[in-house]
Symmetry: C2
Subunit: 515 residues, 2 copies
């Protein structure tokens, strides 16, 4: 074959390949019709209580084993048939963690609300982006409607807000807005030559403020840590002392973060007391309510957020307690128009001003992102299906059942279980399990060190048994080593018997280990 013929043949092959892909697309799309069955058969969601016993949360494999079980390699020219792709999907489902198993309590989120997933699937299939009304007409109105409703609940008379890709980003929005509000010239001139700006947040607060301080050019050292009381709430007198100290050292305090629902203990800072301090010193008050913001929906527990109407902004993640699919995070601010002024710039190819509709519906320019995933519809659908009051009552139930767990832990006796806090404010319950081998011994520092190895060891057993997943953590600033942190969520809707299962399982697995 001459080289010319060869080239032609190769070109022809390529054309054939492209045509083949084009003609196969109709079949490729049809595979979507089997995704639900793949997931259902793979037990990706537990639809009944009986499933919980029958289905493993995780079939844990070490990374090197996993690499043997699934051919992860991606290749230039190796293709896979639809049947092979379905087989791969089955494997992925098999070896992934079933976070929708009713016994996944490993993070701050639990089971999803199925209406959330319905909304997410539809959003994905429509594949819109949240910048303009033009591309996401229905979704942009929904985002606005949710923000309006949440502002109302929060007592922000004329607030504004945006969906962002997670709580860390929502907290960053708060910092950027506070800084812009105080020093609008930072937008153009940067921070160079300025007196160091200082922000304040409690030792129990989320690490995103430290990361944000780095990214935003403020510096982690200017993220000042405020002490907390026994329950994990910010000490207002320490806040005030730290503000004064920062001023004395030449810094300019500008921002206080209060936490509504800390990551470990679920503590709520006293917003009114902190607002008093912020008013006194003229500081922006942001609330990291990523976990605790859901209390807004509950009559009985809304008091945890008392004073929210006096704050300047807050972050809230419906993807935690409420069961919205990841990512669903809101940033809200009391200040009208500020978000637009802060983040907008002239963008001619996207936010044209000569459009044929009211461009105030193009909300994308408020964002630091350009393309932005639609996170509003799934949450809207959940609220529409159940009414937001139901979520409030599901939250009440989660808090109630967490108190029942506390009682059950107490009933089992301090020989076997030890609580980190006796009275939790929210639905986080933190505790140690004391295995038989450690009972009745003198509680020396060495004994404690052994105790702190218990949770990680049980955690390993949990992974291999696949019966339950509960997180663990130390609280180093309190000198406390590893303990379990069980966080309840709206879904699964737990009954009391489930709590006995969990404690029994910890005891059972705990006695399989050596300490």
């Amino acid at each position: 074959m001459s080289s010319v013929t060869k080239t032609t043949a190769t070109t022809q092959n390529k054309v054939d390949e492209i045509d083949k892909i084009r003609l196969n697309l109709a079949d490729d799309w049809k595979v979507l019709g089997s995704v639900y069955d793949l997931l259902k058969n793979g037990k990706a969601f537990c639809v009944s209580d009986a499933d919980r016993d029958a289905v493993k949360i995780v079939d844990f494999k070490q990374p090197n084993e996993m690499k043997q079980l699934i051919d992860l390699s991606i290749d230039e020219n190796k293709t896979h048939t639809i049947a092979e792709i379905e087989d791969l999907c089955r494997l992925v489902i098999k070896y992934s963690v079933k976070t929708n198993h009713g016994r996944f309590h490993n993070q701050l989120f639990g089971q999803m609300d199925p209406y959330g997933l319905i909304g997410q699937w539809i959003t994905d299939a429509l594949n819109a982006s949240a910048y303009t009304y033009e591309v996401g007409p229905v979704f942009s109105l929904m985002e606005t409607e949710i923000i309006r409703t949440v502002c109302q609940l929060a007592g922000y008379a004329e607030g504004d807000g945006i969906f962002s890709p997670g709580g860390s980003m929502s907290n960053m929005y708060g910092l950027v807005l506070a800084r812009y509000s105080r020093h609008p010239q930072v937008k153009t001139a940067g921070l160079f030559g300025m007196r160091p700006l200082a922000l304040f947040t409690s030792e129990e607060s989320h690490y995103s403020f430290v990361k944000a301080a780095h990214w935003l050019g403020l510096g982690a050292d200017n993220c000042v840590v405020v002490k907390t009381n026994e329950r994990g709430q910010m000490l207002t007198n320490d806040l005030e002392a730290k503000i004064l100290k920062a001023q004395e050292s030449g810094c300019e305090p500008f921002f206080v973060n209060a936490t509504a629902g800390t990551t470990v203990l679920g503590a709520f800072d006293d917003l009114n007391a902190i607002a008093d301090v912020c008013e006194k010193y003229g500081l922006w008050l942001h609330v990291d309510a990523c976990l605790g913001g859901s209390a807004l929906l509950s009559y009985r527990n809304r008091h945890l957020l008392a004073g929210l109407d006096r704050t300047n902004s807050f972050a809230w993640n419906p993807h935690k307690s409420l069961g919205a699919p990841l990512q669903c995070s809101l940033f809200l601010t009391r200040e009208r128009d500020l978000l637009t002024r802060c983040n907008s710039i002239q963008v001619n190819y996207l936010f044209q001003q000569d459009k044929f509709y009211d461009v105030s519906y193009d909300t994308g320019n408020k964002s630091v992102q350009c393309g932005r995933k639609i996170d509003a519809f799934k949450f809207w659908l959940m609220l529409k299906a159940r009414g937001y009051g139901s979520f409030g009552r599901l939250l009440d139930h989660a808090i109630d059942i967490s108190k029942v767990l506390v009682e059950k832990i107490k009933q089992r006796g301090s020989e076997r279980f030890r609580l980190v806090l006796e009275d939790n404010q929210y639905m986080n319950v933190c505790f140690w399990y004391i295995p038989k081998a450690l009972r009745g011994l003198e509680e020396t520092p060495e004994w404690r060190e052994r105790l702190y190895t218990v949770a990680p060891k049980i955690k390993e057993r949990m992974a291999y048994s696949g019966t339950v997943m509960i997180g663990y953590t130390p609280l180093q600033y309190r000198g406390l080593g590893n303990f379990f942190r069980m966080v309840f969520t709206c879904f699964p809707v737990l009954e009391e018997a489930e709590l006995d299962f969990i404690l029994n399982e910890i005891e059972r697995l705990g006695e399989e280990c050596e300490y």
Copy 2:
């Protein structure tokens, strides 16, 4: 009824409500089985060429009309049945833009690859988060595998990377990493008191650098704009002049962004020439390859990225040309370990060091986010199904067909159509349509002003006719008013006849308007 009895009754109601929600969950989950049919019947994806003619891309309604058509309000106690929820979903699908219609060319993305959507649906259903191997074992290995492969293709011998929520964020990763690499103390001390740091990017580049300069505390004014040549490529001599000028004015240059595939013209900066300048002045070279990074997969067009191996980092969005569902954005860096050192902090409740597996698989601490949506699997599944070479050839096809469009535009004559660029480097084709009313007139400034109203007017007709969607934009720094920007993508796989349809439709709609 006494108040005591009343309270008990209310409590009972609440318990009943919670039980009812719990018992209904099995039915709620089943609705997911009908989502595919809802979407298919709602024509959310066009599976055949015939669909294109039969299905409207959008049934456009003004915001106030839309509010009448869909009851957007969310209420505390109003609930909706499954049937009502399905009806609402039908309306949402009906009034949303069908971005998977083969004639949606309004943004830098087009139709999705169905394998991407399959992966996305499974990812959503499993609802994992990308922080730890523990919660996303399969997905964390896939992310690593994709990063490894892309680094190899880019010529990064020992690179690293991360998935981020969009190109703007990926570009921010580049800026933060460059700054940390040069001045690691910024992480702790911030930018205060430093000499202003300056970054350089072309007038054609994406606006995310201006937004990032604001957020990161660098200031938009320290984002120095470099001129471009006729084709939209950065002028290296102007870059060098601007660097010197910044130095003279007391700034410290630290970062250059080169663009591979500009938003409007699809221009590729000369990476080798810019790398020479960066080496000379010791600057970090980042590439915004959000649009153009897909050329990495093509033998024939990879030359557009020549010199990528000499850069320090780049951003690439497979959710643009390749048809991965939004959001799918990669940040890659040549520097090993730097990403971890830059972004990691000690997080005890998540990144415990006493785990029972190799914690180097916990990649979440490299991120500025905490919870992070899994964006790797959908892309992995696409690459697995087709092999990445196929995407390269689909991209070649998209570029080829864009050249055919250019030819067709030329054939219709400069009386009717006018190109912004005669020879596009990538698959962006920019052009004006000259309606009959404007033909044969003297091309005065007033005539131009009238010409610049044509695209917005046709755009309005497109929305109401629902036959095709193509974006428009001005290029103000060149003194050019509104023109159409048609950007080709891997999907739909277009044939030549489709181009005639598009041009005919522009002519048809164009003659319906008054100028």
